[in-house]
Symmetry: C2
Subunit: 231 residues, 2 copies
């Protein structure tokens, strides 16, 4: 189960500079008292669709998926959160309850920062507010950009795009372990499990990628890029 770990002082957090550069010591001290650090194992659910939003979730390490039930048998993945993301910055400030669930797809380490504290600090420190706004804007842009490029692509293009996304933006390596099942890939890019498998097999037969279970190696990124763009 999830594990509360002794939270280090924010002041010494290695990610501080990325996020809270606009906070002077005073603000950091405050924020420090408003946070809890947790570890989650792969597969654990951090937030259930409909839960009250009490905190903003900052992802230190690992990967998470934001997902939504569509009906009894189907889900949809909205986006995948990477380290340094404020997971669920979407809708934190416009809804009192989460519109989606959040689950760890790799062992992860997160900070929960109380929404109230965050709001106080936003009201008190304009530079911090500006930082948060920029952050939100960027997060939104990324999600939308992703969805829009995908919606123009055929299935081959979507798979190619997704594999490149994992290689370039998430793992920065051409060989990596897919953190999600074929079915979840399908949920992420709006297609059926069978077709995810079929097309990945095609790519394998064409020598574009190697597959070993969840381990993927991209042999020919240029070709993958071409397929993604053509799609």
């Amino acid at each position: 189960m999830s594990e509360l770990i002794k939270a280090p002082d924010c002041q010494f957090c290695s990610f501080k500079s990325l996020l809270f550069s606009s906070l002077e010591n005073d603000g950091l001290q405050k924020l420090n008292r408003c946070k809890d650090q947790f570890r989650f194992k792969k597969g654990e659910v951090i937030v259930q669709e409909g839960d009250e939003i009490k905190s903003i979730i900052y992802l230190h390490k690992g990967l998470m998926k934001l997902h939504k039930r569509v009906n009894e048998t189907q889900s949809q993945i909205i986006s995948i959160a990477k380290p340094f993301d404020f997971v669920g910055l979407l809708s934190v400030f416009s809804n009192s309850n989460f519109l989606y669930s959040i689950s760890a797809i790799e062992d992860s380490s997160v900070c929960f920062i109380s929404k109230e504290c965050m709001q106080d600090e936003i009201a008190r420190n304009g530079n911090f507010a500006q930082d948060i706004i920029n952050r939100m804007s960027k997060t939104t842009d990324d999600v939308l950009q992703n969805k829009f490029s995908l919606s123009n692509k055929n299935l081959r293009g979507r798979i190619a795009y997704t594999l490149l996304d994992f290689a370039e933006n998430i793992y920065q390596k051409n060989e990596f372990e897919l953190p999600i099942s074929r079915r979840e890939i399908a949920e992420l890019i709006d297609m059926r499990t069978e077709n995810v498998i079929r097309i990945m097999s095609e790519f394998r037969k064409d020598g574009i990628i190697k597959i070993n279970g969840h381990i993927i190696e991209i042999i020919n990124p240029d070709m993958l890029r071409k397929i993604s763009d053509a799609g």
Copy 2:
């Protein structure tokens, strides 16, 4: 062409309460000096994809579309902005240039508020910052919610959803004039012009709607809702 009109004092703007409730007089005065009010005729382009972002655009009256070129022959509509929307709050704070174009699809009246002024005010006034954040969060949520519900639907469902959206959220009437062409509807909900026409004709033959050019009357909203939900 677009027409600069004598801008009334923000203090007496009838929309003030909706937007700038967090601004005391001092802040309003400042903002007042940072804005220009314009009128645009249906069809006019307010912003071209790639233009530098210098202002935030507030839509008083009318309707606008946010759209993007996909290739030489195709565009895609990202969303339709209604009165009281900050058009293009998306990416204003994460990009220096617009990622999309903005065009009037009805005669419209807008305020341009300088981005710089806005940022100064955000830094100075925490409550205002909080307001803006809530606004952004809501705008984003709406766009995403829309796109996600659409992506699960078949073509009939998408048309039904869209007609209901116009009737309920934009015009609040069961009879209205579609402000966009069949082709633009296709661009909005990711299908082909021919199928937009075909399905709308089906709905007409089934007695669900009446069509007279761009005038649409919804006869059976319940059925439309059913089709939208089933899709």
